[in-house]
Amino acid sequence: MFGVEVSQLFFYLLSFIMIVSAIYVVSLRNIFHCALFLVLCLFSVAGIYILLEAEFLAAVQVLIYVGAVSILMIFAIMLTSRLANKKIIQSNDNVTVAIFVCAGFLLTSLGSFGYSVWKVVDSPLPENNTLTIGKILMTDFVLPFEVVSIVLLAAMIGAIVLARREKI
């Protein structure tokens, strides 16, 4: 109960951080700052994973998102740096409409939760989920796993090809 309460506390804390940083991500003028807030946001998502007992995923989240993707973003921002640190308008004239749409989306999804019947099963997750995930990946999901590796390879090659200066 305490754990539950603590976790709830953490949840709200993380949620708050996450939502605020996410809002910053989409609204700040300086894109570089946005990237930093993205890092924060992604960290908080990792925290949520932990609250959801997905430790491996949290680790992966930190490693990949915070460690790789964000850095990649920052690199990209750096490479296009002359746009990065200016106080220029970063958002277009869709803002009003977007707010309405997002609000509509939010309201409908939230509202639809109430209509939905959730078959909640109150059983624990498998212990040691890293081990379990590894096993499942290598057994049941071995084919998607391999396919994803190919996707990654393709993405890698694609990125190289695209980003090269000279024509191949």
Binding site: Q8, S15, I19, A22, I23, V25, V26, I31, C34, L38, C41, V45, I48, Y49, L52, E53, A54, F56, L57, V60, Q61, I64, Y65, A68, L72, M73, A76, L79, T80, L83, I89, N92, V95, A98, V101, A103, F105, S109, L110, W118, K119, V120, P124, L125, P126, N129, I133, I136, L137, P144, V148, V151, L152, A154, A155, G158, A159, I160, L162, A163
Partner: protein
């Protein structure tokens, strides 16, 4: 409790949508997309925990999503660079060569 997670994910997704819709900067859009991916991942993990706790398929899916998101980011950023190189800018509003 699950609804709170779902609500969180929904909020995060909505913010992601807002970002996708409003950012001029292509990198900003990519970042917003990451937010949406994360919202989805939160959902996946949440459902895994509360509805099918017996196996970890939700988490496995989340992992795949992360992988795909990473690939997407890589390719996306490469495209952004290309855009930048060819258009002297990455304002997605100007890149409307598909306009009528």
């Amino acid at each position: 409790m699950m609804l709170q997670y779902l609500a969180l994910a929904a909020i995060l997704f909505a913010i992601g949508i807002f970002g996708v819709l409003t950012r001029r900067n292509a990198i900003g859009i990519l970042m917003s997309l990451e937010l949406m991916f994360n919202a989805v991942n939160i959902n996946l993990v949440t459902f895994n925990k509360f509805i099918v706790p017996d196996n970890l398929t939700g988490q496995i899916f989340a992992i795949f999503v992360i992988v795909i998101a990473a690939a997407e980011a890589v390719v996306g950023l490469a495209i952004v660079l290309l855009l930048y190189r060819n258009w002297q800018g990455i304002d997605i509003g100007n890149i409307n060569i598909m306009k009528w």
